[in-house]
Subunit: 276 residues, 2 copies
């Protein structure tokens, strides 16, 4: 395990953390702060176009840890599943254009009106399998991110690292996992599943679980403000040989999204150094 | 599996579902509606005293499926853990006094200021072990109820049926599990863990997962109003040989708790017959 007195060389900032900023502002802000890597969401990349976005990012010398995000495979009918697959292929192309090291996939939830969880699981597996040839050809690994079980119905029905690992076993080369502490910290099987994931860990995300949590989606905490034992989970991840960036991703409508983004970056840097 | 065109003989109503009612009203309401069983929370039992409560329930001829609830074992220091254990022993005595078939235990979350999840898990195991001799002597089985992972920090750090089954393996006779669909429906390992639990299933709770869910604690749905495949999960439970009651437990501050409780019971009866 590497020295935990972090310098900023491993810090990546997810664009969701500084949501008020567009891509240009994100790039400028990170360069000014000496932050070497970003993980942009599609909205800010599409706003300028993926080709131009890639040029801007390369010109600034920033690493793109992940592109956020594809997935959302289950749909009520074949036409819906085809639309999702087409959109995922475009997302992979965008990821390639900006030089992202991988693309994050979240599963998607139950199709509208459905209670068939096992069926949704199968649609996710089949959707990733269908996307995989395109992703392999583009050289963009697919990072399956299990989301917290509270999102199973409407956002993602892959909710444990065990399930994501099972999908990797089934799908083979070109598929890995994204470990986000917010989604997996509670899991009593976490240490074993991180060990099992091992070299499949494509990216590592941090934020914190606040007590109380006031909103199921938009009340994530800055690292250090909640109850997650960040150093322990990081040690598990790095014990597998993971030496990539650590991506701070915070959805926080009522707190961090209302602050001045440059100040948010300053606090990310400080927390990266002291508690991540 | 038994015929699913339910008559009311298997329905139990949890007192949380008709929260405005006291024990006398709950008993009267269930007798009027022809509902044969109840699962009272401690507040309404303690309000009259457990001895008198038992007399009232027996006089009405009602079954007590479970007493809700004990647990909450982790604490920041030994004195706190001893207080919790003492309170649990009193809860077991109350359960015995009202003739409850078991007492529900929820684990409790992280002690204030702690990020040590593994330590909290150990405190839960040790707390149940310490309570067990008293519970065995009182003839009250302990039903460990895994709660949804969104409660891991502040309410219960046992969040999967696998974890509850592990605790049963470690603790032996006198300990079982409570399966509540709200907490476990999302789990890809559910079928296997229900099968593993088998005769350890002491009680079965239903409500529904609403989309959207507007509050993490108090926005549970009436069976049939959400996305949980109730009939499938019930079939898994009954395939183990479980033939006990089905307890409708709904926390719903903004909807069901605001309605006339007798009307809520009428709808519980209807949903029990049609969708549970």
């Amino acid at each position: 395990m590497r020295d935990l007195s972090n310098d900023r060389s491993l810090l990546a900032v997810n664009s969701a953390t500084v949501k008020p900023w567009n891509l240009e502002q994100l790039i400028d802000g990170c360069v000014r702060a000496g932050i070497p890597a970003i993980a942009p969401w599609r909205d800010i990349v599409q706003a300028v176009g993926a080709g131009k976005a890639g040029n801007m990012i390369r010109a600034a010398g920033l690493t793109v840890t992940s592109y956020c995000r594809g997935g959302l495979f289950p749909a009520a009918d074949e036409a819906g599943r085809r639309l999702a697959l087409d959109d995922n292929r475009r997302a992979v192309d965008e990821a390639a254009a900006i030089g992202a090291r991988n693309i994050i996939l979240i599963a998607g939830g139950l199709p509208k009106g459905s209670k068939d969880l096992a069926g949704a699981h199968a649609q996710v597996r089949d959707g990733i399998a269908a996307l995989l040839p395109h992703a392999r050809a583009a050289g963009v690994p697919l990072a399956i991110e299990p989301l917290h079980p509270m999102y199973a119905a409407d956002r993602a029905c892959v909710n444990t690292l065990a399930h994501a690992n099972d999908l990797c076993d089934q799908l083979g080369e070109g598929v890995g996992v994204a470990v986000d502490v917010y989604h997996v910290w509670w899991d009593p099987d976490l240490a074993a599943q991180i060990k099992r994931a091992s070299s499949r860990i494509l990216t590592y995300h941090v934020c914190d679980w606040l007590v109380p949590t006031r909103d199921m989606l938009l009340d994530r905490g800055m690292p250090g403000d909640g109850v997650i034992d960040l150093r322990s989970i990081r040690a598990m991840v790095e014990a597998t040989g993971y030496s990539g960036h650590i991506d701070i991703e915070i959805f926080s409508a009522e707190n961090w999204w209302k602050r001045e983004p440059a100040e948010v970056l300053r606090i990310c840097l400080e927390r990266h150094r002291t508690v991540v």
